[in-house]
Symmetry: C2
Subunit: 124 residues, 2 copies
DNA sequence: CTACAGCATGGAGTATACTCCAGAGTCAAG
DNA sequence: CTTGACTCTGGAGTATACTCCATGCTGTAG
């Protein structure tokens, strides 16, 4: 498959696919003799793209996904290591959530109790 | 007050103070005749810095804070407009929170139920 | 054979909020 | 008068994840 087709199939733009290659998240297949310079994607690469989609949905950054793939290729990814990574990511997410919830609560408080003098409440 | 003192007082680094000035969040006082080129901060500026601190804590971006100050200088900020802004920010925060909570829930699910085959569950 | 869609490359631009640095000017104490 | 701390300016760098663009090559339909 060529880049346009893969783009339609996966929903990643062609630019994004090239970008993923550039940062090492996706390896480009070396071209066979006499083959054009166009990128060719095989089934394994398509699957990897869906995995990337999944992992992004779990909150992993591209860098983390890359490291994860590297671990997998390196020594075979153990479920225990993966679980640990997920737990760590989960804790980070929880902290971020708490932070946002605090902001939200503060906003709610000011907006609901200001009675005409929210500027003072916000100390503006 | 000069920049170093203000930095200590407010906790914003000197670089940050200059940065805020550059993006228009803080106006530099014009220098008086014969005065040096050093920045001088008066009480009003210090207060504005504390307001910025507050508003950042409420989740407003610098750009939003700037717009807010502009509205205030322009026509005097009405509590009703401010409340509306806060409500909008609050909704945005809530959506972000929901999104993160979904990620967290998915991670929790996989991590807790994988039983040795989390790779399959993650579709890696 | 030619037109045109599709692809390649390298580089710049976007958004956010700074941080760091070099090179030079300024101020106050001793 | 010198030293050292402080400040100035302009510009580059950081992190994240792309997007957009110009210019030029490639593949295929008619």
């Amino acid at each position: 498959m060529r880049i346009g087709e893969v783009s339609k199939l996966t929903g990643f733009s062609a630019d994004t696919l090239r970008w993923y290659e550039k940062i090492g998240l996706l390896k480009r297949k070396p071209r066979a003799l006499g083959e054009s310079n166009y990128r060719v994607y095989d089934q394994a690469m398509i699957e990897r793209l869906f995995a990337i989609r999944q992992l992004k949905g779990f909150g992993f950054t591209l860098k983390e996904i890359e490291e994860l793939f590297a671990m997998d290729e390196d020594s075979g990814l153990q479920c225990s290591s993966l679980t640990e990574l997920m737990e760590r990511k989960r804790k980070a997410l929880q902290e971020k959530i708490k932070e946002l919830q605090k902001m939200e609560a503060k906003l709610k408080y000011v907006a609901q109790t200001c009675q005409g003098n929210c500027k003072e409440m916000l100390e503006i």
